[in-house]
Symmetry: C2
Subunit: 474 residues, 2 copies
Amino acid sequence: VPRDWSTSAELHLEFDACVPGRRASLEKAVRDAIHAGRLVPGSSLPSTRRLAADLGLSRGTVVEAYAQLTSEGYLVGRPGSSTSVAPGAALAQSISLSEPAPSGVESARFDLRPGLLDIGRTFPRREWLRSVRTVLASAPDSSFDYGDPRGRLELRVALARYLGRARGVAASPETIVVCQGFSHGLELAARALLGRGASIAAMEDPCLPAHRMCVKRAGLAVTGMPVEALGADVAALRASGANVAVVTPAHQYPTGVTLAAERRAQLVEWARQTGAVVIEDDYDGEFRYDRQPVGALQGLAPHEVIYIGTTSKTMAPGLRVGWMVVPPNLVQPVIDAMGPQPGGSGPPSLEQLALADFIERGRLDQHLRRLRAAYRRRRDIVLQELADVAPPLRPYGIAAGLHVTFPFTGTPYEEAAVAAAARRNGLRVAFLGSHTHAGASKPGGLVLGFARPTEPQLPEALRLLARAFAESRS
Amino acid sequence: VPRDWSTSAELHLEFDACVPGRRASLEKAVRDAIHAGRLVPGSSLPSTRRLAADLGLSRGTVVEAYAQLTSEGYLVGRPGSSTSVAPGAALAQSISLSEPAPSGVESARFDLRPGLLDIGRTFPRREWLRSVRTVLASAPDSSFDYGDPRGRLELRVALARYLGRARGVAASPETIVVCQGFSHGLELAARALLGRGASIAAMEDPCLPAHRMCVKRAGLAVTGMPVEALGADVAALRASGANVAVVTPAHQYPTGVTLAAERRAQLVEWARQTGAVVIEDDYDGEFRYDRQPVGALQGLAPHEVIYIGTTSKTMAPGLRVGWMVVPPNLVQPVIDAMGPQPGGSGPPSLEQLALADFIERGRLDQHLRRLRAAYRRRRDIVLQELADVAPPLRPYGIAAGLHVTFPFTGTPYEEAAVAAAARRNGLRVAFLGSHTHAGASKPGGLVLGFARPTEPQLPEALRLLARAFAESRS
C-alpha cells in the first residue's frame, strides 16, 4: 500500500512502505513519479537541501539518491547546479503492463486441449527455490561462464542416473546434450542427421504439426508412417525410403497407443539394417498408470536411437529444459548443429544446476510420484464423466499420459459439429483431424487433455463436454 | 561429513548427517551405496523388519523408504516379497563428476583474451537470489506456461524503460523480443531479413569470426566493411551492394573505435535510401569511462535499426539473456524466425521475470555503476603497466569497454612471435589477425581483454605480457 509523503511543495511523491531504507524509498518514489507521468522530462527537481528539509531526510541521502537516479538516466544535472528529469525518461511514460490479448484467442471457460498443464500443481516453487538457493550459495564462479556446449556436467550426471533407473535409458554424461525442450532437441537432431546424409524423416500420422514443421525447417523431407493399434507401422516405414524415424513409443501423441514390443524390435532392426536413426520422443513416459512403466526404446538400441525428454509436462513449459541422449558418433554433429555461439545453445547455467540439485535430492521422483497419482485420478474422472455419453465413445490411450483420445469411428459424431457445440459451451478442445498429415479427415475424433483445469473444475468441464456431444447431433 | 551407521549385518550404509529426517537419510544412504557400487544390481536388501530393527527405525519408515526408492527405479520388488537393487541402477556406477578437459585447451596462468569476465565480480548472486525469491513468491502460475514468443511482458516493460533512459533506445514493450544472447539475436535478425528479401550482409572488418558464421548460417552472404579511425567505412558499404549492415557503434570489436557522429548519420541515410536494415550490436555500450555515454544508434533511426544487447558482459554469459529492439514491421518476421515451438525460443520464464525484477529495483543500474568504476581502474592499470614497453605500443579504444587494442603498425612486433612469447609466460592472448575477414594479415596487433583476471592479479599478468613483448624480439 503506497504511503503518501507528499510534503514537498512542488513534488508529489508516493513512498512505498515496502521499500526498506530512506534513500531507496526516495529513489523509487522519483522513478514512480516519472513512470506515472507526474514528473515530465525537462521539469526541475527541488534542490537537495530543500527536498531534504521538506522530507525530513539528511541532505546526504538526497544527494546520493539524485546521483543514483542520474546514473540510471532518470535525471540530468551536475552536482551544485539544478537537477531535472532527463529527456530519455519520457519513453517510460507510455508503457503500461496491460497489453491486448493476441488476436485469434477467444476466451473460454475451460481449456481441454492436450499439452497444457495446471501449472499451479506441476511447478514445485518451494523446492525449486531451495535448489536455486543451494546453487547460488555453492556453485563455483566458472559455472556461470561459457561452458561445455553439452550442458553442465552436474546436470548430465544427474540425468544419466535418473534416466537409467526411471526410464531404462542407457545414458552416460558424455552422450547427454542438454537442450531447451523437445522442439529444440528435434531440430538439433534433424540438422545433425541432415549433415550426415539423411534426407527423409518418417513421422507418425497423426502427430503434432509443429513437430513436422521443426523437422522440415531443419531441412529434411517428411513422410507419413500410419499409427495402428500396435503403434507406428514399421512395414510402411521400410517402404518409405526414409532414413530417420520420429516416434513417441511410450504414449503415442495423439492416439495414445503404446508401441508394441514386436514393433520396437522391428524398428530397431530397420535402423540397424539400413543405417537409419530413430528419434524417440519420450512423451508422457513418466506418466504410466496401470502397468509397470514401459522403458524407453533407447535402452534397446543406444547406438541407433536419439532419445529426447523434457520437463515441459512434468514441471512447467516455461522452464525450457530438455535433454537428448545421443549415440556417441552423433554427439559432435548435434553440438555443431547448435551453431557457433560459445557454450552452445542450451538453457542458462543456473537453471541447469538447479535442476541437477533438484534431481539429485530426489525431488523430481517425489514430485512425479505425486503427479502420477493426481493425473490418474483425473483420468478416472474423465472415464467416469464421459461414460454415459450416448451414443457411447470408446476411449483410447488411457494407460498413460495427460490426454485421452475418443475416435469417432462407428459413431455419429463429427469434428466440426462437436467443435461448434464445445465452443458454445465455453470449451476449447482439439481434434484428431488437425494432427493428420493430409489435413482433416473423417471420421476424426476428440483429443482430450485433462491436465489444464484444476481437479475440482474437471467434472464440470467434462459435463459441459458431454452436453456438447449431445448438442452436436441436434 | 558422512556418519557411519553400518549396523546392518549385510548392508553397509553411510548416513549423511546433513540430510534431515530418518526416512530421507535412509533413502540417501541406499542411493549412495548404489552409486558407489557397494550395492550392485540384483543384490537383495534386508527385509524391512530386519533393517528397521538393525537401524533402530520404525518399520513404517523403512517400508516408506523402500517404496520411494522403488518408485525412483533404484529398487525392484513388491510389498511382502524380497526387495533387490534394480538392473537399471547399474548404469549409475560408472558415472563420476570428473571429466577430461576438452582437447585443445592448454592451461595458462592468466587469460587476457577479450570477451571473458571475472564472474565472481560480475554475477550479483545475492541480489539475483532475491529477485528469484520474489518471483517465485509472487508470479502467477501462467508465468510458467508457454507465453508470448517476444518474452514476458514484465521484462519487456523493464527493458523498454531501462534502454530508453540508459542507452537512448526508442523502445516500447511491443517491439522488444527477448532472446538468448547476441548470437541468437543476430541469427534471428538475419533469418528474418533473409525472409524479407535480404541477401548480403556487410560486416565490420575486423570483427568476431563467430558472428560472421551466425550470419552465414542464417543464409546471408557476408561482405567486409573496413573499420577506420571514425568507424565502419560507409562509402565501402554503399559500393558493396549489401542490404544489411552489422555494426558495433559504441565500442567497435575488436578495434575499440567509436562510430563517429557523421558516420552514424551516413549509415542511417544509406539504410533509408536503399531500404536496408542496420543490426546494432551494443557491445560494451554500458561501459563508457571518459565521456558521457554514447547513445545507441537505434535512437536515431528506430525504423531502420535492429538493436541487440545482452547481460553476457554485464552479469554472466551463463545467464543467456539478450534482447532485440526491432522495427515494428520486423517483429513478426523475427518471431517467425524462432521456429514453430510454442512460446518462441527465448530464455526460461523464471529468468526473464527475475531479470525484470532486478532491473525494476534499480539493481542493474547499481551493479553497472560499480562495474564501470572497477573496469575503469583496470583499464588504467593496463595503460600504466604497458606504458614502458619499448618500442612503445599505442593503445586504441580506451574510452570504453573491457578490452584495449594495441595495433602493431609502425612497431617491430609480430603476432606469431608475441603469441609464442606470451604462451611461454603462461598467458592466453588474442590478436587482430584472427578477426580479419581475409585471415591473418600484417602488421596485426594485440586485442587485450582485461576483465578475466581478478583486479589484484592484473598487474602481474600485465608484467608478464610486457616481458613477452620484450622476449618476442630476441
